[in-house]
């Protein structure tokens, strides 16, 4: 159905004097929003869309991977936030969840998987092993933290973290995507 009135210029009745820019009949952004029209930049729109459709790489290393699977299952249900499309191929994924201990033998594979993912891409380190090596930090075979191998965006503490914490971490990544100017986590504490 075609609109009969021009919703951008509904009050156009004629050009008054003293308004050379001719802005008197434009609606304010608030008025436009109430009519279902938004002004934004393409960059903002892209970031908003990406935040709702992150595709994680299905990539489990150790214990935390089991809690990661639990998060996608019925009780915690990550798909409420749009994160449930786990891809088996790194070429289709944009978030890498490092869930578990990275060992020296696994290190080249993790690095390769990261480089195989297309830009833009993000990394979440789940659990103390991926943060710093955790209880295995002084082992001869363990890489002390995922950030020694790939750049990490969000760290989720726990050994292993509960599924609620993993969901919170994913939401933090979403906040980071939408507000890249923020340097720190901003929480609404009531």
């Amino acid at each position: 159905m075609a609109l009969k009135t021009n919703i951008l210029f509904p009050r156009r009745v004629g050009m008054p004097e003293g308004d050379p820019a001719n802005t008197h009949d434009l609606l304010t952004p608030e008025e436009l929003e109430s009519r279902g029209i938004l002004f934004t930049s393409l960059d903002k729109l892209f970031r908003w869309g990406t935040g709702w459709s992150l595709w994680p790489l299905q990539f489990g290393l150790a214990c935390c991977a089991i809690e990661m699977i639990c998060t996608t299952q019925t009780r915690f249900d990550m798909s409420r936030f749009g994160f449930e499309v786990f891809r088996n191929s790194p070429r289709q994924a944009d978030v890498m969840l490092v869930a578990g201990t990275i060992t020296e033998k696994m290190r080249p594979s993790v690095e390769l998987l990261y480089h195989q993912m297309p830009e833009p891409k993000w990394v979440i380190a789940i659990g103390s092993c991926a943060i710093s090596g955790g209880p295995f930090v002084d082992s001869y075979a363990v890489v002390a933290g995922a950030d020694k191998v790939v750049p990490v965006d969000v760290y989720i503490p726990g050994c292993p973290p509960r599924p609620e914490a993993i969901i919170d971490g994913m939401l933090q990544l979403k906040a980071k995507l939408r507000h890249p100017e923020r340097q720190k986590v901003v929480r609404d504490v009531k």
């Binding site: 150790a62 089991i66 060992t103 696994m106 594979s109």
Partner: protein, 376 residues
């Protein structure tokens, strides 16, 4: 289909296929180098160590109490079941008598986590064969089991609930509520899951007659746990060499003879029923047991006498053994684990040749392996 063979009697040039370490159906980071003739596997080289964290070496530099939480991270699907052999071995060195109530609590938690572990084993198996809906129900059931553990000791997966000389906490009201939920849901789940999976045509085609293990082979390759019992060997440590207070209960052990992938699935589902019965019996016994100590008197600083002790338990994946050698110092001289998944996968190179690639997925999944345990 091409039926002509070349000079070597092959259908095609032999090539190698890398299976893993990042592959959705290798249950983590198992890597297999498969030699292929066309689509048929003619040889398998299993490469492990992608999750090797040097657990046994680390335990040598930790005190006994510091070392206990590491055992949870071996077979992380059933944390308390791994605590048990280590604790039992150290208790042998200490010469501690564990209170009956603590023993019952140990058994109760072990059986609950065994149920949870079987749920993952069955659910992931069905998912690896392509039935995504088959994984939701076992994981929902597993959540009820984890709720019990969460109410009891606060942790979902890596509990470290079993301590030297006893257990961490006694059952509470919150546990009772979670337990009643588990008891109410499990029979419903078992009945529903049998209807969902057992006679599915695709499932039958992909599992029946695949990866057959004879009883002799199973014993030669030291298989243990459900994989052994599915091949017709009637052996369960809980009944044949009881530890804790398992001799108080009548342990029923289902045994199947087919030894194929389907038998291993059915074996797990049958055992789930028996585990559920056992959980109810142990809980009833625990309620009759008078309230009392759940920890034996042990010194604050553990210094077991010099010597060696070995203890073994029946874990969800098979027999878990633990050897602890002590010099009478604060930390053990040597700790070694007999890790069931590690011994179970040795038979892959025997049974896999002759199968197609899709069947390899079925065989790996039917063994219910855990990489944390294989690599240590």
């Amino acid at each position: 289909m091409n039926t002509e063979t070349n000079k070597q009697g092959r259908y095609s040039e032999v090539y190698q296929l890398n299976f893993g370490p990042q592959h959705p159906s290798t249950h983590g980071v198992l890597h297999m180098l498969v030699e292929m003739d066309g689509e048929t596997c003619i040889g398998v080289d299993t490469k492990i160590g992608y999750l090797h964290r040097g657990m046994e070496k680390l335990l040598e530099s930790r005190t006994y109490l510091q070392g206990l939480p590491y055992t949870d991270r071996l077979d992380y699907l059933a944390g308390v079941n791994n605590n048990l052999p280590y604790v039992l071995a150290v208790e042998k060195l200490l010469g501690v008598e564990v209170p009956a109530r603590a023993s019952l609590l140990r058994m109760l938690t072990c059986e609950i986590m065994r149920l949870a572990s079987y749920m993952v084993g069955v659910g992931i198996y069905i998912m690896d064969l392509g039935a995504v809906s088959g994984v939701f129900y076992p994981f929902q059931e597993r959540e009820y089991a984890l709720d019990c553990m969460s109410a009891l000791c606060g942790a979902r997966m890596t509990q470290s609930y079993i301590r030297y000389g006893g257990v961490q906490a006694d059952i509470n009201e919150e546990f009772d509520v979670a337990y009643q939920k588990l008891v109410a849901e499990t029979p419903r789940f078992i009945e529903m899951y049998h209807k969902l999976v057992d006679e599915n045509e695709i499932f039958l085609r992909r599992t029946k007659g695949i990866g057959v293990i004879s009883a002799e082979d199973a014993m030669d390759y030291a298989l243990t746990g459900p994989n052994l019992r599915a091949s017709g060997v009637d052996y369960d440590l809980r009944r044949d060499a009881p530890y804790c207070l398992y001799d108080r209960f009548k342990i029923e052990v289902p045994v199947l003879t087919a030894g194929d992938c389907y038998a291993r699935y059915v074996q797990r589902m049958l055992e789930v029923e028996k585990i559920f019965q056992l959980i109810k019996e142990i809980y009833a016994a625990l309620k009759e047991e008078p309230a009392g100590e759940i920890m034996a008197k042990i010194p604050k600083v553990l210094k077991p006498a010099a010597g060696e002790a070995y203890a073994q338990t029946e874990n969800p994946k098979g027999i878990m053994g633990c050897l602890v050698a002590s010099e009478g110092k604060l930390n053990p001289l040597r700790v070694h684990f007999r890790r069931p998944s590690f011994d179970n996968i040795a038979i892959f190179e025997k049974i896999m040749p002759g199968h197609k690639v899709a069947d390899l997925v079925s065989i790996i999944a039917s063994f219910d392996i855990v990489l944390g345990e294989i690599d240590g």
